[in-house]
Amino acid sequence: MSITVKDVQHVAKLARLQLSPEEEATFTEQMNAILQYAEKLNELDTENVEPTTHVLQVSNVMRDDVVKESLTQEEALLNAPEHEEGHFKVPAVLE
C-alpha cells in the first residue's frame, strides 16, 4: 500500500492543514517510508488479541452533579486572539 500526493492532499484537508507543494512532496515520501515500516506489524497474527486502549482498567469516572466554581468569562477570553462582547470572535461561518 503506498500513498500518493493526492492522498496527502486529502489527509491535509481532514487535518485542517494547508501544505505547500514542497511539503506535500516531502510528506508523501516520508509517510510512505513510515507506513512501509509499519507494515512490519502484519507479520504478527493478532486475530484473537484484544486491543489495548488503556493500560489501566479504567471505566467511566462519575461524580455527583454539583455546581462548582468555574472560569470567569474574563479568564476564558484572556488568551483569545479576538473577542467581542464576551464571546470568541470568528469570521463569517455562512457565506
Partner: protein, 485 residues
Amino acid sequence: MSLFQYRLPEVHNMLHSKEVSVRELTEESLSVIAERDSKVHAFLTLNEEGARDQARALDDKLATGAARGLLFGLPAGIKDNIVTQGLRTTCASQFLNNFQPIYDATVVSKLRQADAVTIGKLNMDEFAMGGSNENSSFGAVRNPWDLERVPGGSSGGSAAAVAAGEVFFTLGSDTGGSIRQPASYCGVVGLKPTYGLVSRYGLVAFASSLDQIGPITRSVEDSAYVLQAIAGYDAQDSTSAKVSIPDYLSSLTGDISGLRIAVPKEYIGEGVDASVRESVLSALKVLEGLGAVWEEVSLPHTEYAVAAYYLLSSSEASSNLARFDGVRYGTRVDDGGGLLDLYHNSRSQGFGPEVKRRIMLGTYALSSGYYDAYYLKAQKVRTLIKQDFDEVFKKYDVVIGPTAPTTAFKLGSQTEDPLTMYLNDILTIPVSLAGIPAISIPCGFAEGLPVGLQIIGKEFDESTVLRVAHAFEQHTKHHKARPQM
C-alpha cells in the same frame, strides 16, 4: 562549590541552621543560568521576579519555624508543556508563543505545596514530539557534556538544566522515552512513573494514553523526594489511578540481596553500541556484587514496538492537537477568508514540520478505511508487548537494559530522516506502551559521553525501581561526574 552539589537533606540542614537562605539558593540558580544558559539554551521563560517573591516568603516561613514542605526552598524548572498560571507556556511552539495559562497544572500546585521555587520553563521538542530537541521552535538545547551534541528529547531542556547545575531538579514528561532518553544523554536521573500515578491535569496532551510526568534529578534520592511530592490521585484527571502512595524514601535501603533481574536479549543485542553494552554489563556486575542475580530473557515483540508506538501516538496527537484552531488561544492567521481558511492558515503557520508530519500520519491512520489496518492493529500489538512484560515479571523483580542504544549524537546528524530518529527510542517505547515505571540512571561513560542504565519495574512498583537504582548509585560514582563548562 555549588550549593547544588549537596544532597537534598544536606541542603535542608543548611537552611535549618541558617547557613544558607532560600534567597541564596534562588540567586545561585539564577546566576548559573545567567552564566551558562546562553550556551545550553535550556530555558524558554524565566520567572525571576516570581521566584524572588517566593524565596522571600519561604525565608519568612523559615524564620517563624512553621512546618516546611518536602521540597522546601529548592529551585525547580518545569517543562514548557506543563501549564503555570500567569507564566508563559509555549510547548516550544510558535503556535503558543504568547500563551498565558489561566490555571496551574496539578503537579505545579503540588510543587508549590511542597515549597519548591519555580525558576522557569524549560525548552523541549515542539509539543513533546522528538528525541533531540531540534524540533523546538525557539532553537535547540545543547548537551552540557558536549555543546555540539543533542541533549535528547523531548524533555531535553529539563535534563540539560539539571546536568548544567542550573536548578536543583526539574519536571519532564515522557510519552515514548522523553524523560529517560534525555536523562541518559545528559548523565542525570530521569524517572517515568507508572501511567496514572502522577496527574496529567495541566499537561498539554500529546498522546493521552501514554503521557506521564516525572522528575529529572542528579540523584535517585532526589528523585524519590520529588516523586513523593507529585504522586497521587487527582479527581481532575479521569485516568488518574486510585492507589495508595507508599513512602518512597523508606524504600532506599541499599539492600538488593536476592533481587531477580531479567535482561532482555533484545536490549543488548544488535543495534546497541558496543560501548553502551559494556557499560550495562559492568553495571550488572555491580548489582551481582550486591547479591542480585540476573538472567537473560526475551521480550519477543520488542521489534514491533516503534511501529505500534508511532501509529498510536500520532493518532492520539492528531486528535489532541485539533484544539489548536486559532479561535480560543494561540496563533490566529486571518486573511479575510472564512472560518475554514482561518483554521488552515493558523495551523499551517503555527505548527513546525515534525508536528505537521505526526498530525498527518495520525489523521491518515484514523481515517476511514485505514483504522483497522493501522490503529486497531497497533492497539493489538500493544497488548502483545504488555504481555511480554507480564510474563517476565512473573519470575523477576525488575528488567534491566540500556536506556538508549547510543550516547548523544551530533546536532543535525539525524534531522533528514524521521525514521532513524524514531529508532533511538526503541528501548524506552515498549515500557511506555506497557504503562510501567522505569528510571534511567548514569552507569558510565563512552568517549566522554554519559551512558544510561534503564531499570524497569512492575506496575506501581516505583519503590523497587528506586531501591535498585539507589543501591547501584551508592556503590558507584558516575552520578557525581559533572560536565566541564
